[in-house]
Amino acid sequence: MFNKKGGQKVLFVYWFIIFVIITGGVVYIVSLFYGAPHNVREIESEILLERTVDCISEKGYIHEDFLSNKITNENFPDFCHFNFEVSSPEKNPIGQYYLKLEFFKFDSSKELGMGNKVISIVVGNPNLDTPKEILKENYIPPKLVYLLDKEGNPYIIKINSIVGKFNENVK
């Protein structure tokens, strides 16, 4: 038996449920979109890399202080005018920057020209040096820089500049 009034009530409930689902979906997607932080880690690590290269090179050559081992892990941030101190410990209780520099003598017979390692400088939070398999899309690969010393000897410098700040950049 066809009950038109009852049928309309069922239709009313059905439409109501559809509206709730659509509204919920739109609210969820919009919240997800506007709630997600803007990820600037990669840009920041690029800037850190560029500033590091600026600091290593002097008039186009490797700064003498690096090759004479005057620059150490301790004085590197001051030498390059970096401040890696944590400004808001409640937000970031541990260091949010990591910088690893490895100077290799250029050797064309080796892979990527990386011969003997002559200098290594590591500053910042070493926990940020996490493998690609764990960080996945948040992994920032190291960069290779080719520079000469003042005598014209070529060096390959492997720079790993990593910015943490996961709370502020990654959801």
């Binding site: 009034k5 009530k9 600037v40 400004s87 808001s88």
Partner: protein, 139 residues
């Protein structure tokens, strides 16, 4: 003389149900649109964007630089005009952290920079609707 009164209860209830349905639908869409507009015009998003933008600019900063950041994206918003929010004093630098606060009662958004430069002064330029940062020597 008797007046004839026509009463169609079934028709009235059907009309009421339809009106209710239309009203609920309208209310739903009104809530949805209000939510979307409030999210899209939220200054909290701009606080984060400007804090990060300024921090990245200060990462590049070198002594004797003068950095000017335009806030034109913000001033065009109706909310600022309606609530008469002043951009003067909305940006501050504490140590190596930039704080952007567009709501006077809010906490704002802070983001740190790694360049060890001294920010000698910073001020709002109403004519150009921008903030100027004067960079001093290295710390």
């Amino acid at each position: 003389m008797k007046m004839l009164r026509y009463s169609n209860k079934r028709g009235e209830s059907l009309l009421m149900e339809n009106i209710m349905f239309i009203l609920i639908t309208a209310v739903f869409f009104a809530i949805l649109i209000t939510f979307l507009v409030s999210k899209m015009n939220s200054l909290a998003v701009y606080e984060e964007v400007y804090a990060k933008k300024i921090a990245l600019l200060l990462d590049y900063a070198k002594p004797e630089m003068k950095i000017e950041v335009s806030l034109n994206d913000i001033i065009s918003q109706d909310k600022l005009k309606k609530e008469e929010i002043s951009l003067d004093g909305s940006i501050s630098v504490n140590g190596n952290s930039v704080n952007v606060k567009f709501y006077p009662d809010g906490k704002g958004y802070s983001y740190s920079f790694f360049s060890d430069v001294k920010i000698t002064s910073y001020y709002y330029v109403p004519d150009r609707n921008s903030y100027v940062f004067i960079i001093g020597e290295y710390n």
